[in-house]
């Protein structure tokens, strides 16, 4: 189907049993009817697994990875003076400072790179999920066809690395919160077909449940049930009717699911296999446990794994008030598990083939809404003079500069790429980066051709709009 040839692909094919290969040959997944572009050359790749650490809700760069002048809280401080509400703290990389509370992540920056000049799209009146849709699909909604999530593209192009681990796993986000419909809209394989859609694990501590037989069913009963179905299916009288490929594709998908649910490798999803010490190190909450599960998946053949701090309107990083206090709490949530994840993968050698990205849909600021020069509706009320600590923090949405962190998978170590202004507006002023470049950099690391596209409704649909995006080659060794 495509000419992408890399190590993992070959390994995957080796792992597939002869049976599943011959079965695969008789079927044609729907998306194959989408005519793919012809690839001109095989690409070399460094990474075969991606972990996306998603800072949902808009993480202020000035409060985290790109600190500016610290202005401590005191009653009567002017809002316009507040650039950062935390002091700076050194990292392991000379001259690189993070905001206080991120010392763990700071200690692993010798293993990765930071982009300090990411510019979010300008989508006008802010709706978080619209920007998140744009970040994850590279297309601004709405679109006249459903755009696939980056994880779905990767699942489609590379397939599973371990055939009992779904190639696109999304952890941490529930769909019972506000803006749920908008969240669902991009947690989707779009026109690529549900086959490549996300395997959702809202609560990583119960991840095992999603790959085990139904609750209350013993393995013995589970096996007996499948055996009964198989025998009945093989003796069904409609065998002579209709097309075999339809019947076979149905039965094969059931077999795959049975194999997955019956597989010893499903233990990968079992966090109780970790030592108490490891578990406790990671366990800062659901996000931390998500990092722990992501580590296990990355070590065992996960393909694309996202771990979200979870978007829930006005919660998480979406600080509309009490910004300082809440940013401190969010840092506690992410710092230890992320640092440990990088360390664990580095020590076990898995970091070399695992690309880890930390990003958010946009940044925040105390004053600026949107980007400089724009008039945006419905800004958070922020008094000129802060008389209540509730107003101390970054409460408005800022799209003109934010930080993206990357580790592993061929990313340079200790690199600082781009920068933002030290005075308000803290916009990207050097090497500005847009989402197309981030996506293409991920595809580059994985060896997915930048011109990958499918024809849908008569026109080519590329991984990045019109196939124009270019990877940031400076990020790679």
């Amino acid at each position: 189907m495509n000419a992408v040839d890399n190590k993992s692909r070959r390994e995957f094919i080796k792992k597939m049993t002869a049976a599943s290969l011959s079965a695969a040959a008789t079927t044609i997944p729907t998306a194959n009817f989408l005519s793919s572009c012809s690839r001109t050359e095989a690409l070399a790749s460094k990474a075969d697994t991606v972990i996306l650490l998603w800072m949902a809700g808009g993480m202020a760069h000035t409060e985290t990875f790109d600190p500016k002048a610290y202005v401590p809280y005191e009653k009567g401080v002017e809002s316009k003076r507040v650039l950062s509400t935390f002091p700076k703290s050194p990292t392991i990389v000379d001259g690189l400072h993070f905001s206080e509370g991120l010392e763990g992540i700071g200690s692993v920056m010798d293993k990765g790179a930071i982009i300090r000049s990411y510019k979010s799209a300008d989508l006008g009146h802010i709706l978080h999920t619209r920007h998140q849709y744009h970040w994850h699909t590279c297309y601004e909604p709405p679109q006249s066809v459903q755009a696939p999530h980056i994880g779905a593209w990767i699942a489609k192009e590379l397939g599973p690395l371990n055939d009992v681990i779904p190639p696109f796993i999304a952890m941490g986000q529930r769909f019972t919160v506000g803006e749920a419909e908008e969240l669902k809209a991009f947690h989707s394989a779009g026109f690529l077909g549900t086959e490549f859609g996300p395997f959702l694990i809202p609560d990583p501590s119960t991840g095992l449940d999603s790959v085990r037989p139904p609750k209350g069913m013993t393995m013995k009963r589970f096996e007996a049930r499948y055996k009964l179905y198989k025998e009945l299916a093989n003796n069904s009288r409609v065998l002579e009717n209709g097309s075999d490929y339809q019947r076979e594709s149905l039965m094969r998908s059931m077999e795959q699911s049975y194999r997955l649910l019956n597989s010893p490798e499903a233990k990968v999803f079992d966090l109780s296999e970790e030592s108490k010490e490891t578990y406790d190190t990671y366990n800062t909450g659901r996000f931390g446990l998500g990092c722990l599960l992501a580590k296990r998946l990355a070590m065992n053949g996960g393909r694309f794994i996202s771990v979200s701090t979870e978007y829930e309107p006005f919660l998480g990083w979406d600080t509309h008030e009490n910004g300082h206090l809440r940013a401190a709490k969010m840092k506690e949530l992410i710092d230890r598990p992320i640092a440990q994840l990088i360390k664990d993968l580095a020590e076990s050698g898995h970091l070399d083939h695992t690309l880890i990205i930390l990003a958010s849909e946009f940044s925040r600021d105390a004053i600026m809404e949107g980007r400089p020069g724009l008039k945006v509706k419905d800004q958070v009320n922020q008094p000129d003079v802060i008389e209540d600590e509730k107003f101390y923090g970054m409460h408005r949405h800022f799209t003109d500069g934010s930080s993206v962190l990357m580790w592993g998978g061929g990313i340079k170590k200790g690199l600082v790429y781009g920068k933002t202004a030290d005075e308000r507006p803290c916009s990207s002023i050097e090497n500005p980066v847009v989402i197309d470049q981030i996506h293409q950099s991920v595809y580059h690391a994985l060896g997915i051709d930048s011109q990958t596209n499918y024809t849908i409704e008569g026109r080519p649909f590329y991984t990045t709009p019109d196939g124009h995006g270019k990877p940031i080659l400076d990020l790679f060794t």
Binding site: I28, P29, T30, D122, L123, G124, L127, R130, E140, P141, P142, Q143, S144, Q146, V177, E181, E182, S188, G193, T194, G197, P202, D203, R212, P214, R225, K227, L228, Y229, E231, L232, N235, S236, R237, V238, N241, G242, S243, D244, Y245, Q246, S249, L250, M251, S253, M254, Q256, S257, Y258, L260, L261, R286, E312, F314, L315, E321, E457, G458, R459, D466
Partner: protein, 945 residues
């Protein structure tokens, strides 16, 4: 160039000539060698040997020269790489062949076999290398382009014809001039637009419009009227194919006829016709209104037409399906439900020869079930849904009520279309589109969405491509799309090409201006005009589009495919156009159209086998219906009908019962924000006042996500742990006049914060005939701290408890059973249910975009949902309990009932044995549940045969 380099370059350029020597020599060597097989013609051996020697030398030379060519002339790419590899391999293997030959001759090898194999391989490699080489020089499609390719054949024929007609005419008439110009523009379209169109103005030259052609490009004017020799355009297209300046591009030049035609056109003054160029095939707007064939034995009009089609394609009529298969198929197709076993056996036993027609009529007349089935089709087509992006900020509107009523009344289709386009408040959602908050891409503004969706859904034409730039796949232009969109705009639209304004204003017009003018001062007037114009019978395209969709639903494949591209060739134009004409003649009656198809023998044929999906997509010949998969809705409804209600709630209640379906729970707060409740136990209290009148009856309805214990005045009244069920409890004995206390312990299960809510209602029936309803969601207080045991009593002081939070019904929907009337158990038809993860897994689309064909492919995620999905297993579990209560625990009886209900037949003795062997003769809850699962997953159940 460095000294001496030119020699290398010269040698390199000799490569294309030198390569022909080894080709000739080695091929002939192999040919002569084949003549010697069997020990014959040994005299050839010496000659073969010398040919091989010469061949090897030239093969090596070719490789060396090829290397020079590559390095000196900067060739690169995969094709070059492959050509090189095969060339080198040819040379190497040819040397090896020679070596083997020498050894064979000297007797060191026992025969010539190895050498012959080696020589054959050499020639094989040579052919591949040669082919790759020719692909390099002549283009990759050099070989394949001679294969059937209607478009280019058509063009060339047309070009040749025009040329022969006009080349000796001294002065062309204006009609001829127009023809000539369109012929030339077709050449431009196929060969030049790729780089020289408004979409991509290479060298500043555009050839797809009059202004561009006459204005020329960077290097000035390209056409001098009357003087081909002075025209840059003619000079460039007539250069040698190897010239760097040749157009369209090196290696791919115009055919001689084409060049001659362009020359003729310029010579004749390069006239420009005002007619639009149609590069792509386009279906006629009007219907052909075919006559029904006379000399056929068939009675039904569809069968008469198909009879002619079958004869033409040398197909004899296949068998029709038996009654069992027919009854299941037609139930699922018309009302989306399974026939119950009684209906099946009654139908099969019925000896009336018209019974099939009668059943079809009966089902079409079952308006409620017909509507609740077809709602799904129309929701997909008109992208109408109960939830989805856009609703949150008021950027989207449902048309459910209008749609439901239209289907229930079988509203004429032209009327439906009129009401969609020139809408009332109820039906305006379709053209309003989806507006997300913030700024959007120009090609996605709501006016453009209206044009795109009307185009796709109603007319089978792709406006999406042309809303960004002139289409590459149809004749539609950016101007036309914006003209169409402008109908819906209340201000003048500026054209945007690829999201950049181009300073041109849209001129209001419909895609098919021949149907009538739609320009007027206001949007409302324009919509009124469009709605009248679009439904005209002359717009055969619109009716053809719908007929094709209905055919596709019933037969599994459209007469035209894809169903949204109605300019594609139908496999039989007569069937399509006759049905469309008949549909118009019936007064745009949808049920009439369906009846025409369903009552035909054609619909009732056995399903056709295909070895793979490709056969259905291309080069398709109709031989009968195709097996289809149950839709997510059909699957769900079948489970609800037979096992247990799949969904307890609906989003749209056709009866219009408005329930104050509000769930309340303890208000949970984080950073001043109300958030999803954490798991755990919460306590709720309410005081109600009961009047002095005597209570005859008092009924409580309660449903709690996840579990509850209910107390009235200190007495424990009931417990429950299933939010999908409604407990209905008679409580009059616990109540007395004056103050009463209702207390509930609620339990939110789970490991993380998740929706929780109590739904509570109480109705008092008084002696005097009056009824009093106690509000379900007001006046409750709650706490998350374990209170004194006294808390369920009236006297308890709850002043420090907080008011509860109303969590609405968004996470649950409207419970169909939440009603004080004790009716039969109702089924929530899946079409009325909000998008659900189970249905999503089974292929129900999220309706942000028009969906006209669903993905029927089985996928792993879907299989996982069926195998360990908690939701599905819960339903099966509930069903098992019910079955054991109603049918008893005899495995045989359960299996027989299940097969009859789900598959419309009894299990065979063999199947029965398999089941009894697995479960024994007495069933329990687990075995019943597992049997349900096994049969529901069977292909026989999941497909419509």
């Amino acid at each position: 160039m460095e000294e001496g380099q030119w020699i290398l370059q010269l040698l390199g350029r000799l490569h294309p000539m030198v390569v022909h020597f080894p080709i000739g020599l080695l091929v002939v060597a192999l040919f002569f060698e084949s003549l010697t097989i069997g020990g014959k013609r040994n005299s050839l051996r010496e000659g073969i040997k010398w040919m091989l020697y010469a061949g090897v030398v030239f093969a090596i030379l070719s490789v060396i020269f090829g290397w020079f060519l590559k390095t000196q002339d900067d060739y690169s790419g995969l094709l070059v790489q492959n050509h090189q590899n095969f060339g080198i391999a040819t040379a190497v293997i040819s040397i090896f062949s020679l070596f083997l030959l020498e050894r064979s001759i000297k007797g060191k090898l026992k025969d010539f076999l190895l050498y012959r194999i080696s020589l054959a391989i050499t020639v094989l490699l040579l052919i591949i290398a040669g082919h790759l080489g020719s692909s390099l020089t002549h283009g990759e499609d050099f070989l394949t382009s001679v294969f059937l390719n209607e478009e280019s054949d058509y063009d060339n024929e047309k070009t040749a014809l025009l040329l022969s007609r006009f080349k000796d005419v001294d002065s062309l008439s204006i009609v001829q001039q127009d023809e000539l110009n369109l012929g030339v523009r077709a050449i431009f379209a196929h060969n030049c637009y790729q780089c020289h169109s408004e979409n991509k103005r290479k060298g500043e030259l555009t050839l797809d419009n009059k202004e561009g052609v006459y204005a020329g490009g960077e290097s000035g004017v390209v056409i001098v009227e009357g003087k081909p020799d002075k025209s840059e355009l003619f000079r460039r297209i007539s250069l040698s194919p190897n010239d760097d300046e040749v157009m369209p591009k090196k290696g791919k030049v115009l055919k001689p006829d084409e060049i001659a035609l362009v020359k003729l056109w310029i010579k004749n003054g390069a006239h420009w016709s005002d007619q639009a160029l149609k590069v792509f095939p386009e279906a006629d707007l009007a219907l052909t209104k075919p006559e029904l064939p006379k000399n056929t034995p068939e009675k039904h009009p569809v069968d008469q037409l198909i009879d002619v089609y079958f004869k033409k394609n040398e197909i004899s009529w296949p068998d029709t399906v038996d009654d069992h298969a027919f009854v299941r198929r037609v139930y699922l197709d018309v009302v989306g439900l399974l026939p119950n076993p009684d209906e099946v056996s009654e139908f099969v036993g019925n000896r009336n020869p018209n019974k099939r027609d009668e059943l079809i009529n009966q089902l079409l007349n079952d308006s409620t079930n017909y509507t609740q089935h077809w709602l799904t089709f129309w929701n997909d087509l008109l992208r109408n849904d109960y939830s989805g992006p856009g609703f949150i900020t008021g950027g989207r509107k449902q048309i459910t009520n209008w749609l439901y009523e239209s289907l229930e009344q079988n509203k004429p289709y032209d009327q439906m279309v009129k009401e969609l386009i020139n809408p009332s408040v109820e039906s305006e959602g379709f053209i309003k589109g989806i507006q997300w908050r913030g700024v959007v891409n120009a090609s996605q503004r709501t006016e453009m969405q209206a044009a795109q969706n009307i185009g796709q859904s109603l007319l089978g034409v792709n406006v999406k491509c042309a809303s960004c730039h002139n289409s590459f796949v149809s004749n539609l232009t950016l101007d036309q799309s914006y003209g169409f969109a402008a109908i819906f705009a209340d201000s003048v639209l500026e054209l945007n090409r690829c999201d950049k304004p181009i300073g041109k204003m849209a001129k209001v017009s419909f895609l098919y201006p021949e149907l009538g003018d739609v320009d007027a001062a206001t949007v409302m007037e324009r919509l009124a005009l469009l709605s009248e114009v679009i439904v005209k019978p002359e717009n055969g395209r619109m009716y053809r589009t719908l007929v094709n969709r209905i055919w596709q639903k019933f037969m599994g494949r459209g007469i035209v495919e894809p169903v949204d591209e109605m300019d594609n060739q139908p496999w039989d134009a007569n069937v399509l156009d006759w049905l469309a004409s008949d549909f118009i003649a019936s007064g745009y009656n949808l049920k009439h159209l369906m009846r025409q198809i369903l009552t035909s023998k054609t619909y009732q044929l056995s399903t056709v086998k295909y070895s793979n999906q490709v056969e259905i997509k291309s080069d398709y010949v109709f031989q009968g219906p195709i097996v289809r998969r149950l839709s997510a809705e059909q699957f769900s409804d079948a489970v609800s009908q037979t096992i247990a209600p799949m969904y307890p709630t609906v989003e749209y209640d056709p009866l219009g019962n408005i329930m104050k379906d509000k769930r309340f729970w303890h208000r949970e707060v984080k950073f001043d924000r109300t958030v999803l409740p954490e798991p755990g136990i919460r306590y709720f209290r309410q005081q109600i006042r009961i009047p002095q009148n005597t209570i005859k009856k008092a009924q409580v309805l309660i449903s709690v996500d996840h579990a509850y214990t209910l107390f009235i005045n200190g007495n424990e009244v009931a417990k429950g742990a299933n939010w999908r069920e409604v407990d209905k409890i008679e409580v009059s004995k616990y109540l007395f006049p004056g103050n009463n206390t209702i207390a509930i312990i609620g339990h939110n299960e789970g490991t993380i914060a998740n929706p929780a809510g109590i739904l509570f209602g109480m109705r008092l029936y008084l002696e005097n005939g009056k009824e009093i309803d106690i509000d379900s969601d007001k006046n409750w207080k709650s706490t998350d701290v374990l209170p004194d045991t006294e808390w369920v009593q009236i006297n308890f002081d709850d002043s420090d408890w907080k008011e509860t939070q109303n969590y609405g019904s968004a996470n649950w929907g409207k419970l169909v059973e939440f009603s004080f009337d004790d009716g039969e158990q109702q089924i929530a038809r899946a079409s009325l249910v909000k998008q659900h993860p189970f249905m999503k897994a089974l292929g129900r689309p999220s309706r942000e975009n028009v969906t006209t064909t669903r993905d029927e492919q089985a996928t792993l995620l879907q299989a996982l949902e069926l195998t360990n999905g908690e939701y599905f297993n819960t339903v099966l579990n509930e069903g098992a309990t019910q079955w054991l209560n109603t049918i008893g625990n005899k495995s045989e009886e359960i299996a027989e009932t299940l097969y009859l209900k789900l598959l419309g037949r009894k299990p065979t003795p063999k199947e029965m044995k398999i089941i009894i062997d697995a479960f024994g003769s007495t069933a329990d809850k687990e075995t019943v549940q597992d049997l349900f699962w096994s049969v529901l997953i069977l292909p026989e159940f999941q497909f419509i045969y």
